[in-house]
């Protein structure tokens, strides 16, 4: 765990103002309230981990910040200004880049075309694509972050899951993201690949980017996070700084915390012996 500390300690105290600030934000789809009274702040050079079980409202939260959905109550401010995003483009233009679980990469397109998708470089009077320059920059950016993909012409679908994550993150950083939202970047990855991605997340933070790291793995979160927010049924169940919580506490909180205790209590009340006896009696009866 020595590497854990070195990942996180230098940024634990960064008192700068939040780039993205959510105050009491809620979102309802018809009569279903997916998110209720969520407050969250993202600061430069900090990793804010958002944890929660399936259906806790993590995706809804990301979609609001990324501009895919608008919120229905509360207030979201970006750089101190209240904002309602109408499209992902508006969110991007405010410096917020999202790396989705499905990565937003077109699998049949080459690495360099994906890297510059939506931000293509052109040259000349006919605005022709500057392929050579784009390939060179993509290669440089990927190498800088320690990923080597020798053939940038190969389709993205041919890369490994970790490589694809890194391409997507490198792309977001290159295009000037100030806030990076990572949606479960390690969910589908093995131990080694997860390590590569986590190191990469720390590099992004060290570059001064505010990171929102969505995960349901408290171990991965605790390795890199400065701040932890646990969502439960659309509400904030825990909001704490790294110095105020241990990995064990975070894991317990994540695993259900008080509910888990209640459940184990409930299970203990049902005497397994009695159940077995009942079954036996039933069998004898037939």
């Amino acid at each position: 765990m020595t590497t854990t500390e070195s990942f996180a300690d230098d940024a634990t105290t960064s008192p700068n103002t939040p780039i993205v600030l959510l105050e009491d934000v809620g979102k309802s789809y018809g009569n279903i309230q997916a998110l209720r009274g969520v407050s969250l702040s993202v600061r430069q050079g900090e990793i804010t981990c958002v944890l929660g079980d399936n259906g806790a409202g993590k995706s809804t939260l990301i979609k609001i910040i990324a501009g895919l959905h608008d919120y229905t109550s509360g207030r979201m401010s970006v750089n101190g200004e209240e904002r309602h995003f109408g499209s992902p483009r508006e969110s991007l233009d405010s410096g917020i880049a999202t790396v989705y679980q499905d990565l937003a990469l077109a699998p049949l397109m080459s690495v360099w075309r994906n890297f510059f998708l939506g931000n293509e470089l052109t040259k000349g009077p006919f605005r022709q694509l500057d392929a050579a320059k784009m390939k060179r920059i993509a290669q440089e950016e990927l190498t800088k972050m320690g990923i080597s993909i020798p053939d940038l012409e190969q389709p993205v679908g041919k890369l490994s899951g970790g490589q694809r994550q890194c391409v997507a993150i490198a792309r977001a950083i290159h295009f000037g993201a100030k806030v990076l939202i990572l949606d479960e970047p390690t969910a589908a990855l093995g131990v080694n690949q997860s390590g590569v991605v986590l190191k990469y997340v720390v590099k992004a933070r060290d570059a001064g980017i505010g990171v929102i790291f969505i995960t349901h793995n408290p171990h991965h979160a605790y390795l890199v996070g400065n701040h932890f927010v646990v969502l439960k049924l659309g509400r904030v169940a825990l909001d704490t700084h790294r110095s105020d919580i241990t990995l064990e506490e975070l894991t317990t909180e994540m695993a259900g915390g008080s509910e888990l205790e209640a459940l184990s209590h409930e299970l203990r009340e049902i005497n397994p012996e009695v159940v077995v006896d009942d079954v036996r009696k039933g069998q004898e009866g037939t």
């Binding site: 699998p107 998708l117 293509e120 190498t143 080597s148 020798p150």
Partner: protein
């Protein structure tokens, strides 16, 4: 400057640079090129008139009739959609220009402009409805296909009292328009039609746009993964509606060819079934029906195969009844060849 960049020191040594051959094989149109070569050799042997250089012009003309529409249909397919109304939309455009000019006694060019506006509107409507409803393009364009097929006959009969549009061959502007859309010319002893030249020009422009411009990159992206494209800021709806309008433009162009090639008369029942020929050309040329992969040049080669087979069957002295069966077999063969070539190229 870029040429001096070597792979970084930390490069993964398990991956070697791909050879030129492998890279060539990974092009989408390679399967159709091989197929075209095989068919060319086959008919050169089996059909003696095929060897006659004078017939080359006729073969190219047949290919161009399908090939011009195969250009936008390929682009649209790479963009993840297809258009079943493309065949009758050509007829609609020809009829619109002919009937409008005749009924209102205006210059032929006025009718042509009206037809262009109408064709673009049909494309925009297809694209808009598709984006608005989120229905598959099969259903939306199947609907437009039947609407246009019905309108073609019904409106023509209302206006002209017959199943064909009135001849506009003696009206102002006909000669000039015919020289642009349907004139004949001779090059090196080979007589052919001007549409062959237009076809080559269109293929060149569309191939350049697809591979070398931002719009082209977006077309691949919206077809490959529309959600991913939207997430990085590509205007997915605009690109798709734009592609349907490009189909509209080419339907107009082909409609004008139809109008001026047949002395200013268009049969209202024309065009049904042509949409499948365009789609076959695109698929034979290596375009993936599900989008995100393909080439305009491939679509052109697909159209060339169509032209060669259609006339090859005739030149070989076979009953032309066999042509459709041959075409269907070609389609299956081409899709299998494409699949095998693609898998092999990716495995290297």
């Amino acid at each position: 400057m870029a040429s001096t960049i070597t792979s970084p020191a930390s490069a993964d040594d398990r991956v070697s640079a791909r050879s030129l051959g492998a890279r060539l094989l990974s092009r989408p149109e390679i399967g159709s090129l091989v197929g075209a070569a095989v068919i060319l050799v086959f008919f050169l042997i089996a059909a003696p008139p095929f060897r006659d250089i004078n017939n080359t012009g006729t073969i190219l003309y047949q290919a161009a009739l399908i090939g011009v529409m195969a250009v936008p249909v390929s682009l649209l397919m790479i963009g993840g959609e297809f258009d079943l109304s493309a065949g009758v939309a050509v007829t609609t455009s020809g009829l619109t220009a002919g009937l409008f000019a005749y009924q209102f006694s205006v210059n032929v060019w006025v009718g042509m402009v009206v037809a262009l506006a109408f064709s673009l509107a049909i494309g925009a409507f297809n694209g808009w409805l598709l984006m608005r409803t989120g229905l598959p393009s099969f259903l939306v364009t199947l609907g437009t296909f039947f609407i246009l097929q019905g309108l073609n006959i019904a409106v023509t009969r209302l206006a002209s009292g017959a199943v064909a549009s009135n001849s506009i061959s003696d009206m102002d502007g006909f000669g000039a328009a015919k020289s642009i859309f349907a004139s004949e010319f001779k090059i090196g002893g080979v007589t052919t039609k001007i549409i062959v030249v237009w076809w080559i020009v269109f293929v060149a422009i569309a191939a350049w746009v697809l591979l070398k411009t931002q719009i082209g990159n977006w077309i691949f992206a919206v077809g490959g993964d529309a959600a991913a494209a939207r997430a990085v800021g590509v205007p997915v709806k605009k690109v798709k509606i734009g592609l349907f309008m490009v189909v509209g433009f080419f339907a107009w162009f082909t409609g004008m060819q139809l109008l001026f090639n047949s002395n200013g008369v268009v049969q209202s029942g024309e065009g049904v079934g042509k949409e499948f020929l365009y789609i076959i050309a695109a698929v034979v040329g290596g375009c993936l029906l599900t989008g995100g992969y393909g080439s305009v040049v491939g679509g052109a080669v697909g159209a060339l195969i169509f032209g060669m087979v259609q006339l090859g069957v005739v030149y070989a002295g076979w009953n032309p009844d066999w042509f459709k069966a041959f075409l269907g077999a070609m389609l299956l063969l081409a899709t299998i060849v494409n699949l095998v070539v693609k898998n092999r190229a990716e495995a290297r």
